[in-house]
Amino acid sequence: MSLVSVDNVSLSLGGRQVLDQVSLHIDTGEIVTIVGPNGSGKSTLLRVIIGALTPQTGQVTRQKGLKIGYVPQKLHIDPTLPLTVRRFLSLPKRVSDAAAHAALEDAGAGHLCQHQMTSLSGGQFQRVLLARALLMEPDLLILDEATQGLDQPGSADFYSQIETLRHKKGCAVLMVSHELHVVMAASDRVICLNGHVCCHGAPEHVASAPEYRALFGTGTHGALALYRHEHHHDHDGCDHDHSYEENA
């Protein structure tokens, strides 16, 4: 059985049809990426999957007892709420000091433990959000542009952490990302969304699909080339840009 399956989900928000007959499923241990232009319903779909929005038609089935780690696109913390990084990591379930410190170290935010959440910079905040999501040892990690605001080493660290987590715990990942080269390198499946599912499948398949080209143009040729280098390690003597691998 899939961890999550979405069947023919349609949803209108404020009179606009945001999702139209969307179906997808996520299985244990796989990394699925949703790509699509702004306003194509990516975040809405993620919020349907976590249960924050109820679709007008269609159905979302979550595996019983599914643990979801969710990293939202942005998180506003009201300045009236005093909250240290350490306390934030224990919401809603308490985690041990040792686990919290280890998670922060892994996320490159070890020194921030006693800082107030509201005093963090955008990138630091994102690292802490990721540390919290990973601490929950989720079966499914849902990332809504989780690496935005991270510098390149931070983002590369993060993706390598996800890889480790997937190997150790068999955790599945569903993410929305605009970093097309990363998407293509790291995903098992790509879903191209524009209100409806335009096309889906293995990264190479999607990148060559006419629907995908129509949305993203041909500017992604480079991404695909990079993907091939990184994934197959097909180093046939060309001096390509290796920045992602070096940082990973």
Partner: protein, 267 residues
Amino acid sequence: MSLLDDFIVRAVLAGLGLVIAAAPLGCFVVWRRMAYFGDATAHAALLGVALALTFNISIFAGVLSVALIMAVTVSALAGRGFAMDTLLGVMAHSSLAFGLVAVSFVPSVRVDLMAYLFGDILAVGRSDLVVIWLGALMVVGLLYWRWSALLTATLNPDLAYASGISPKREQIILSLALALVVAVAIKVVGTLLIAAMLLIPAASARAFARTPERMAVIAMVIGMLSILGGIQSAFTFDTPTGPTIVCVGALLFVVANLVRLVRGQAK
């Protein structure tokens, strides 16, 4: 003056009972930017008093049901494109007005709604004390039980959903706790004092707190100081007790923020 005077002891105990429930509850009111919620519930409670007198039911039942209806209405409407502050403002003013109009239909009962607005903490009886403390302990228990879920839902509804917590349910639990505090305390301390004890200690505590839990505890301490200081000052200066308690609370708020300002500059 001796604090052993019976009615003073009862006043102090009533005030402390109110504060142990209102202070942590008030923290949520502050964090959720629902400052008007105290006002709205308190004003709705006046409508409850009016209805209770009209239909000759107990004031506690009248207040609790109207406060609950209001809380549920607000929770239901909040998700539908109304801003919380607008909604609460509309509720606060209209329920007060409806309450006053309703009372005018009951000529046989000479009601002074002002008494319920300001209450009279010095007139607290033994049975009132039992009601206040039972209600307060229930609210504290409820908050303790739901603390983590309430906090997560307050922080961000989506994070709550992802952890399997329903923010709507937590919102209703919070509203229920608020309605309960108002219902048990209105007769003795009045709506002004209830709303003030929700808001002012929590707002003052923010200056010193680094975690939500500490803010709740500090709010309780500040609330207790306001009660003790207020009753003492009311005696010393021969001023009305309820408003004096609120004045002391307001002064503590100013002092707390001055301390924060000075400490902030020293760093």
